[in-house]
Assembly symmetry: C2
DNA sequence: CCCCAAGAGTTGACGTGTCAACTCTAGCGT
DNA sequence: ACGCTAGAGTTGACACGTCAACTCTTGGGG
């Protein structure tokens, strides 16, 4: 297997740099306009109904502990609530609060507009297609 | 400006998910095989000669404070050393130690091979081109 | 019935990144 | 020479993600 050429390294460096800038910009916008992080946004989008923590983690493709930590922070800020089983008092799931639902709605619009402006409106159809194909290939290969 | 269609959201979700999986895989490999993080790798690659912290931060396109924190951790592990001005004793720069240089060399080979295997060898030429064009466009637009 | 193994969920420790506040020095104007 | 400001660098507080260890419940064997 051949080594990386300097063009290869440059390609890679460009790529990582662009990705970081993009994610940072999106995160900042979401934080500024809606007061939530990108990860919290994903949770708000996915938690459309009460569900168990593991179910949520699976749907997001995240690790349980990451979800647990994030839910704790979101619970403290009133965006989600844990569901308690009346009898045993043990926690069996999690759901959005009213405030969470409100944040989700406003963030969907604001964040969607930002993604469209920064990304989708700038990609030619064949670029978008090439990128989506790459993404699907990566997920298929790495998601085990 | 039109709202995001569900295909748009799916494109975005796929993209973020793939990106996260890829970065995680690369980070884990680097950590496992070379004992350093991806960010530390970038520093080792960039710090080819003694330089000031600000210069390093500019070269990487990172914020000063991020670089300062990372350098502190790397200094504690003996990968880099701060350069002291003999007279005033004040810190005027930073450089790789022998150990840092050694880590850089081995990581270049190992990490390069991983990138090639996970990314470059799987990209069709038109995919690579689309991605590079997107990356350059993003950097041009967001790097201010 | 009891034990214990498997699964769900949580927690703590740690490395990391961001923002804002801080220190220190150099350079400049008067 | 004095003081002030701009820039470089550091630090602290906090949010985040990962790993490993932990608790708690549940569902079988014996």
């Amino acid at each position: 297997m051949a080594d990386m050429s300097s063009a290869d390294w440059e390609f890679w460096d460009t790529w990582m740099r662009a990705q970081r800038l993009l994610v940072r910009e999106l995160d900042r916008g979401l934080q500024r306009d809606c007061g939530i992080s990108k990860a919290e946004f994903s949770v708000l989008m996915t938690l459309t109904r009460p569900m168990r923590v593991g179910e949520l983690a699976d749907a997001l493709g995240w690790e349980k502990s990451r979800v647990a930590h994030l839910l704790t922070r979101m619970e403290n800020r009133g965006l989600v609530a844990r569901i308690e089983d009346g009898a045993t008092g043990r926690r069996t799931g999690v759901e959005l609060t009213g405030e969470g639902r409100r944040a989700a709605e406003s963030a969907t619009r604001v964040h969607g507009a930002t993604i469209r402006r920064l990304v989708l409106d700038r990609l030619a159809p064949e670029q978008a297609e090439a990128i989506q194909a790459w993404g699907e290939q990566l997920i298929g290969r790495l998601d085990d």
